[in-house]
């Protein structure tokens, strides 16, 4: 099928970007979205132009590297019958021949642009470094079955831990808020007994770091939940809010 691609090109964060039009004449419906961009890049290379820079790695929906806003929707998740996928898992059979596809990077103050469609998501790493861990040194762990954990809690923890850190929540949020990510990351730990010791310090530190990174606030519109390829629930944000209130009442301030 034929497609028109309108792709955001920007040399780096110091220069102005713009949309650039490209035509593809022979896209296989069985190819993945990223393979379609591969095709375009092959074409650009052969024509002597610079290919489009875009992040991708595992191409099986788990590494969280790929990050494209397709026609205004993070990971292009507005296609019929398609839900909970990353853009690498979206296949071209979900598009119609002749369609114009607009490609933009994640846009957020917390994700500075590096080139074309690539942004720097280091803010997420720093949020984890602020407290998204359980402090247990290698070798100091008791027997794994010494601490039984109700299946329900383990399952909720797993629901949150499914987050792949792609940043689609930030990209989709009208306020570029990182609350779904932050709440999921602490949620997976806070629902387990192992995570209780540091629970309230963790929430204060992670929220403080999240704010320092320049992300916006949550206005409870659930755009993040709709865009999340791992279907992380807004409930984790509620839990984070409650934990922060509790932490505040306990007089816990940030240590980051």
């Amino acid at each position: 099928m034929k497609l028109t691609l309108r792709v955001w090109r920007q040399k780096n964060s110091n220069t102005q970007g713009k949309l650039e039009d490209h035509q593809l004449d022979d896209v296989s419906p069985d190819s993945s979205f990223l393979e379609m961009i591969d095709d375009l890049n092959e074409k650009l290379t052969n024509e002597g132009n610079e290919p489009i820079a875009f992040d991708h790695d595992c191409r099986e929906g788990i590494c969280g590297m790929c990050s494209l806003v397709v026609n205004g929707v993070a990971h292009g998740q507005d296609r019929e019958l398609i839900k909970a996928v990353t853009i690498c898992q979206l296949h071209m059979r979900n598009f119609k021949g002749g369609e114009t596809i607009v490609l933009e990077p994640w846009r957020a103050e917390g994700f500075p642009l590096l080139k074309d469609l690539i942004v720097d998501r280091g803010a997420f790493d720093r949020i984890i470094q602020a407290g998204g861990f359980i402090s247990v040194g290698t070798g100091s762990a008791p027997d794994a079955n010494a601490l039984p954990i109700p299946k329900k809690n383990a399952d909720i923890s797993m629901d949150a831990a499914a987050c792949i850190g792609c940043g689609a929540c930030v990209a989709a949020c009208p306020n570029a808020s990182a609350m779904l990510f932050t709440s999921a990351k602490m949620g997976s730990l806070n629902h387990l007994p192992q995570g209780q010791t540091e629970r309230y310090q963790r929430v204060v530190n992670m929220v403080t770091q999240m704010d320092n990174e320049g992300f916006g606030a949550c206005t409870n519109m659930a755009e993040c939940e709709a865009a999340c390829p791992k279907e992380i629930s807004l409930d984790f944000i509620a839990q984070m809010n409650r934990d922060l209130i509790t932490a505040t009442l306990k007089g816990i301030g940030p240590t980051v």
Partner: protein, 231 residues
């Protein structure tokens, strides 16, 4: 208390302030609406109720003091609500300083999209409403400070019912604001979870429907002659 002094600096802290002050206002409008319905019990009863608001708490409190305490609480709450709304809106704008060429919403509804505009509209309406029925200045044709019943009926009948339309439009804005506001209170205070979310969603709907509906009954009843001046 390091935690509390730090709290308003966090985005979530601001949201909690927004939620708590919003909750005060939800309580206030719910009470106001309930009081308004007393108009259906007749002129004397209604005026007695209005007067009673000023003598509430006597003899511990002097005449009008309880009302003023309530007024101060809601005014402070409103200021705090507006402050957090403005600072969060500015923050959110800043967080997406370079916007998308194309951005589509997947989930957001009208209530969510219009919170800030609905909020501004409601503030303007409150000012108008105070001039209309509390101060009686400017927009009320013949204000009688001792007869609220009279003021309501005349206030809605004048200007060819145009003010009724203003009130109804404001109530729609209130309904939208209340729906997402109430829901957001649950979310921001962390009451939502797998077990309760659905029930709380329904509660938000009920608040958003019944409070504006209760308010709307009064002007509509004036229009349809259910409430009027005797003789």
């Amino acid at each position: 208390m390091v935690g509390i002094s730090h709290f308003p600096n966090t985005t979530i802290g601001k949201k909690v302030i927004m939620a708590l002050t919003g909750l005060i206002w939800i309580g206030f409008v719910a009470g106001h609406m309930f009081g308004n319905l007393k108009i259906f019990m007749g002129e004397e009863h209604f005026n007695h109720y209005a007067h009673g608001l000023r003598t509430l708490g006597e003899p511990l409190l002097a005449y009008g003091q309880a009302l003023w305490i309530a007024r101060i609480v809601v005014i402070v709450a409103l200021v705090a609500h507006i402050w957090s709304a403005i600072s969060l809106t500015l923050l959110n704008k800043q967080a997406r300083s370079s916007g998308y060429v194309q951005h589509r919403k997947l989930n957001a509804n009208a209530a969510q999209m219009t919170m800030i505009y609905g909020g501004i509209a409601l503030v303007l309406f409150i000012l108008f409403h105070l001039m209309h029925f509390t101060l009686g200045a400017v927009v009320h044709p013949s204000f009688d400070p001792d007869n609220p019943y009279y003021n309501v009926v005349i206030g809605f009948q004048s200007y060819g019912y145009i003010l009724v339309v203003v009130y109804l439009v404001a109530l729609i804005a209130l309904a939208l604001h209340l729906y997402h506001g109430m829901w957001s209170v649950f979310q921001t205070l962390g009451l939502n979870n797998k077990t309760y979310t659905d029930a709380l969603r329904i509660l938000a709907w009920l608040v958003a429907i019944f409070i504006p509906l209760g308010f709307a009954l009064v002007p509509l009843s004036v229009v349809f002659g259910i409430i009027g001046l005797e003789g």
